[in-house]
Symmetry: C2
Subunit: 210 residues, 2 copies
Amino acid sequence: MGGETRAYHHGDLRAALVEAGLRLAREGGAAALGLRELTRSVGVTPNAAYRHFADRRALVLAVAAAAQDRLAHAMLDRMNAVPDDANPAERALQRLRGVGLGYIHFAISEPGWFELAILTQDEPGDGEPPPTVEDRVAPPYQLLLDALDGMVDAGILTPARRTDAEWACWSTVHGFADLATRGPLQGLEPAVMDRLAAHVVDTIISGLQP
Amino acid sequence: MGGETRAYHHGDLRAALVEAGLRLAREGGAAALGLRELTRSVGVTPNAAYRHFADRRALVLAVAAAAQDRLAHAMLDRMNAVPDDANPAERALQRLRGVGLGYIHFAISEPGWFELAILTQDEPGDGEPPPTVEDRVAPPYQLLLDALDGMVDAGILTPARRTDAEWACWSTVHGFADLATRGPLQGLEPAVMDRLAAHVVDTIISGLQP
DNA sequence: ACGTCGGTGTTTACGCTGCCCACGTCGGTC
DNA sequence: GACCGACGTGGGCAGCGTAAACACCGACGT
């Protein structure tokens, strides 16, 4: 009766589904995003989802985009947390470390969301145009690029070494995150894990500047 | 009827299922290992599989073990392919590169098998004993350890730097493989991919030696 | 030679899933 | 006040993994 939009039409079902998806995926990962369970948790018939998403895959990808956004924010917070009173070189270095460690920390503390965030957004073989690598790359990637450019600006990374440095960094950091969430590093003591993560990140960064 | 065991009892259904699993997973990955499709491809009723595996998961893990074996062999071949007429230091370095590039090459050329090979073998939360990292680690891992020890023996890696070097290397190589098979590097021109892989591997190796 | 028995594959059935089709129901607009 | 497009419902289908009961076979003990 007041302004309540409760009865037949849902206020914004699409947003509600994505939100519920985040809640479910937080524990259980992508596997927890059943179309039926998801709609059930919003109090709606399974088929209602088809008014807003082509199929289950599209729904999962929408939730994945939201999860990826959370990842980007976590990394950004970590980057912005480095104090700016240090000298520029040290600051650029700490920001690069922050990008990597933020990625890893997010993966470990929110493995369900992380699993979603790294899902490739476009399915293979849809449109004809060969999607450029830069096209299908995510917001978190931009943070890495910025941090690396900051290293060049600060004079601690030569432009020559800058080339393709993003892939070396991303490979290392992403690989560690995968080993820590799905692989043999699962369930390592948090203190040991943090120390190891820092060591690995420092190793790849040191590999950039011989 | 010489030695033909064809009629009612299957010769060795377990092995046949694993073999068929490898064939199906080669294209289609772990998702192609449906219990029904798998048993169908061997010409047997779905439930027949339950005489040899507790559930679908156990069957997939058995196929995964076989895939992991292929990965280890691919890496070993690559390692053994480095000529031994060079000086020991160069040889140790090339063997380490071979381990990493073998891992990456296998992932790219056999993505279906690779997806299986990196599946964690033990499920979380089964037996109480906290499985040591070394326990649940795979044959491919041993090759990496050996290559790194070889670097120390050759005198191009100090024992101090040797500590935890395996995780830095594995993270980088595994991360690149993941980006190349499931991530944004998917479908890169083979020549470009190889060049990038070599660059990334060289970067992490150079990070090991100050 | 015969009965028994454990290992193996089949049959039937249950609950679950994603998805399609036809229908009901609402809010806004002429 | 009737129409219409957007949205959610209801019923149904094929497929999945899995459980329980049954059929068949080889081997072994007496």
